[in-house]
Point group: C2
């Protein structure tokens, strides 16, 4: 099942996507919902960010090749994480499928994409073992963890490198039935494949992260966990269009523009 | 004016605190409000976390003595921040005035308090100069940035060191009129003063942080910014009661307990 959040006729809410038609609901996938009987055409609505998270978690370094390639670019020894220490991103930076990523005037050329699987939490959860960890998951969507690498290296935190407004495209919708082992992440730059990897070839998988996290913290409905990326990105330029596809979910597409151009 | 969020007769909402009486409102300080005409006694309600933030910002290292003392404890050279790089904390960890901080079973003895000024954002804001930066502030409350120092040093991120459930007491209310230059932060451990410092003796003040942050990101109503702490804390033990007072706001009091004791 696919949950989509959208705006039609001035109202924002949730619906269930079937092919290119949306069955409108009252309520949401977290607190409960009922069909209104109304239907919208997908191409007649504005797609919104699928959920504004209560807490925005991010796995950071979670694929071996990405860690090695990023270290190589900096001339450093790769520092492969030995346990699942979760990190954070910020809600201000979220934009929807189809919206523009706006690169600030003073950013360097080192602006990169990171195509990521996003876990959407559906139920409050604490102290979940790995075997039951996925029971709190509502479904999966797609994120692009846009990064300004010069700020990432020079600042004390990742605040503007990762969380500048528009740097976190997410969507287009939430897929509740995904075969993680069969999924592939494919990133296209201006229509040509530039990065691809098996989505589930993570250092620490979704269940491992959720189990480790919920030993100390409570996950809440609407929390999101971005699972990290593999490979590297070329430097992105004004006008570039980046598509992150995860097979079985869909494709998140956003154009990159330089502020003031 | 003091905004308090509380539960009375099974309902949670906002009121205006005058002495020890609460004037109940419909709505909230962010979207608008009107008096209901009902009044509650302060000691008859349960005080709640004053706001569940959209994004939970934290200045981290923002007082010179704290940076120096923390570095000295680790036998390192202090690394004084040279610019206001904001960090993040997580909403799961928030608890209200009067609730217990629960130290996990496997935490070391190195559990510390950090008494902090908390800025509550009242209006959406971007690109604010320093002179106008405080115009987006609704008011101020108090935070205790509880930290497990062994995890803080050993983990790749601050997730459990800073964001374990109950590690972020905040409250008791929001004061809208505070003379920052006159305010003093006083931390008491079991009734005896253990740390005190002028609240506004920060490396980077509230207006400087807001101006720097809003160059890249949009602040939203209900966002909070924890401004960092000065001095150091002794190791906290089962049963310890920590009070963080900021003169002109009030006192945030929480007991620390070890899980399973």
């Amino acid at each position: 099942m696919r949950w989509i959040r959208y705006t039609a006729e001035g109202r924002t809410g949730y619906g269930i996507l079937e092919g290119d038609r949306i069955r409108e609901v009252r309520g949401d996938p977290f607190e409960g919902h009922e069909a209104t009987g109304r239907v919208h055409a997908l191409d007649a609505v504005r797609i919104e960010v699928p959920v504004i998270p209560r807490t925005f978690y991010c796995a950071g370094l979670n694929y071996v090749e990405h860690v090695k390639e990023q270290a190589a670019k900096r001339g450093e020894t790769p520092n492969i994480p030995t346990k699942p220490d979760i990190g954070y991103r910020a809600a201000n930076a979220l934009i929807a499928h189809g919206e523009d990523v706006v690169i600030p005037r003073d950013a360097t050329e080192k602006v990169h994409y990171e195509g990521e699987l996003v876990v959407v939490v559906g139920k409050k959860a604490k102290h979940l073992g790995e075997a039951e960890a996925l029971s709190c998951v509502l479904g999966y969507t797609i994120g692009n963890d846009v990064s300004e690498r010069t700020w990432q290296r020079g600042d004390r935190t990742l605040w503007r490198a990762k969380n500048t407004d528009t740097f976190k495209p997410m969507g287009p919708w939430i897929e509740t039935e995904l075969d993680l082992d069969a999924a592939e992440t494919i990133v296209r730059l201006n229509g040509a494949v530039s990065t691809r990897f098996p989505t589930n070839h993570m250092l620490f998988g979704v269940a491992t992260f959720i189990s480790a996290m919920t030993r100390y913290l409570t996950l809440w409905p609407g929390d999101i966990i971005w699972m990290g990326t593999d490979g590297t990105s070329p430097d992105l330029r004004h006008g570039d269009v980046v598509e992150v596809e995860i097979t079985g979910i869909g494709t998140l597409r956003n154009r990159f523009v330089r502020e003031g151009m």
